[in-house]
């Protein structure tokens, strides 16, 4: 039996130190401490893989993280899931205490907020799709403010004529709004169930004469829009 096969249980916390111990993972409670320190020190959310990289060889980051999450339950600070990552964040109910820490948040225009919401709920979304939903063309500066905030980034180009760029939301977006994933956007299930994230009304015929202002772009999201008067 090689030393690598020895779990921390076999060796126990009192395992003899020495050369062999260098190859053992520390006991789970110690791993939990380490995950705590690692998450605490990182400004950005860390994925399980990233946490694992920093732990000693043979550690079990998932198990250690699970213990840590439990320990922080109901505390003033908690372990938050943000996309594929994890981070320590203060409990939302205590926000009122931190007023003086609060940064002045740039006031976004109505166009920017709606554009963000459309990208979040319809992602990946092209410029033409955003314009079609809002019924107006996107003004300069709207997309670039959202890029600057790092709330959106480029997705894959649509494989349709013109190969338009698409936009998707980022982990910073999830972090900012305290979302574990884009699936947790408020009301998204209801919107999907009501067909409001589709391109056409439920049961609509494929061939349609559409109101003006539509781009008639062909893509995954709006497959039926090609026929424009």
């Amino acid at each position: 039996m090689s030393l690598d096969d020895l779990g921390p249980e076999e060796l126990g916390p009192d395992a003899p130190s020495g050369v062999e111990a260098l190859f053992d993972a520390p006991p789970l409670p110690e791993q939990e401490r380490m995950v705590e320190a690692i998450l605490f020190a990182s400004a950005e959310p860390l994925s399980l893989a990233q946490i694992g990289e920093r732990l000693p060889h043979g550690s079990d980051p998932a198990e250690a993280l699970a213990l840590l999450r439990k320990r922080y339950e109901g505390r003033g600070v908690g372990v938050a899931k943000i996309g594929t990552g994890w981070a320590l964040r203060t409990a939302p109910d205590l926000g009122f205490l931190m007023r003086r820490e609060a940064k002045e948040v740039r006031k976004l225009s109505r166009a920017a907020i709606e554009t963000l919401a459309i990208i979040a709920y319809h992602q990946p979304a092209t410029r033409a799709e955003i314009e079609e939903i809002r019924g107006v063309s996107l003004s300069r500066g709207t997309i670039d403010i959202l890029l600057e905030l790092e709330w959106i980034k480029l997705g894959r180009r649509r494989e349709t004529p013109g190969r338009p760029v698409t936009f998707v939301t980022t982990q910073m977006f999830l972090d900012h709004f305290g979302l574990a994933s884009a699936r947790d956007l408020p009301g998204i299930k209801e919107l999907r169930a009501a067909g409001l994230l589709d391109a056409t009304p439920p049961g609509a015929e494929a061939e349609e004469e559409l109101p003006p202002g539509e781009d008639g772009e062909i893509d995954d999201m709006f497959p039926e829009e090609e026929a424009v008067a």
Binding site: F40, V105, K107, I113, E114, G178, P201, P212, G213
Partner: protein, 281 residues
């Protein structure tokens, strides 16, 4: 006829949307108040936004909105705005034309199978667009109403724990990258223009030539007939020659050597040498 929306105090119907505390700086709000004369489309973000506001005045679920009634409301709004001589952007007029077309489709008996969508299908799609826009607005408000990082919950305040090994991490974000490329490419576009001089007929050349040939032109002659030989065929050369010859003719007119005539806008321009005998001394 539905109630006159322009006269109706609709501000309260707009209210639910404006409860979003993160947005709608003053001046962003649609301005339709009790005064029939204050019609303004400034506050609306395009025809769809206006339509949505009008749809709300029907006070029904957006799924049950009467598109026919909505079309009438919109057309009435647009007519009123025109009667008041308000400038309406082109997209408002395009929407008006489309709604008039939709209205006719909804009112007339269904045409023979021409393959086009029926009025009902068009109406259903419009109702869907309105519902979808409203849904996105509500979603946007819900999103902004969530607890936000740095305002309601916080990341760790201090940035560095251990300063064992100083390491510089270079960072840049996507916006930086895209801006940098834009900057490089724009700089490129602003490089001093280098034009193939062979395609340019300079004003000096034109002046020289015109001075020489105009003396013989006692009758009105089309500007084009004064172009130098070989400059009328190629579009780029022709454009350059016309521009410089025209500029030269203005110059000569200023000097009192040439008369210029044009019957109406964009009509051909005629030149002739100034008739000395007609000039009072």
């Amino acid at each position: 006829m539905p109630e006159n929306v322009l006269d109706a105090p609709v501000a309260n119907q707009v209210a639910p949307l404006e409860t979003d505390p993160f947005d709608t700086p003053p001046g962003d709000l649609p301005e339709v108040d009790g005064d029939a004369l204050s019609v303004s489309v400034d506050g609306f973000e395009g025809p769809l936004d206006l339509l949505l506001m009008l749809a709300r005045t029907q006070k029904v679920d957006l799924r049950k909105v009467s598109v026919l009634q909505l079309a009438e409301q919109y057309l009435e709004f647009v007519n009123k705005a025109r009667a008041l001589r308000l400038e309406l952007a082109a997209d408002y007029l395009v929407m008006a034309a489309w709604l008039a077309f939709l209205k006719s489709r909804l009112l007339l008996p269904p045409p023979h199978e021409d393959g086009g969508p029926s009025g009902e299908e068009l109406a259903a799609h419009l109702a869907f667009q309105l519902e979808r826009l409203e849904a996105m607005r509500r979603a946007a408000a819900q999103l902004m109403g969530r607890d936000q990082l740095g305002r309601d919950f916080f990341a760790r305040g201090m940035t560095e724990t251990v300063t064992v090994k100083r390491q510089t991490e270079w960072t840049a974000n996507l916006a930086d990258l895209l801006r940098a490329y834009s900057r490089v490419r724009t700089r490129d576009e602003f490089r001093p223009l280098q034009v193939d001089r062979s395609a340019i007929f300079t004003m000096d050349q034109a002046l020289e030539r015109l001075k020489h040939v105009i003396g013989m032109a006692m009758e009105w002659g089309d500007l084009a007939s004064f172009l130098p030989d070989g400059w009328s065929l190629e579009p780029a050369k022709r454009r350059s020659a016309i521009a410089s010859t025209f500029a030269a003719s203005l110059e000569l007119a200023k000097l009192g050597q040439v008369e210029i005539r044009q019957d109406k806008t964009f009509a051909p321009i005629y030149l002739r040498a100034r008739q000395r005998e007609e000039t009072p001394a």
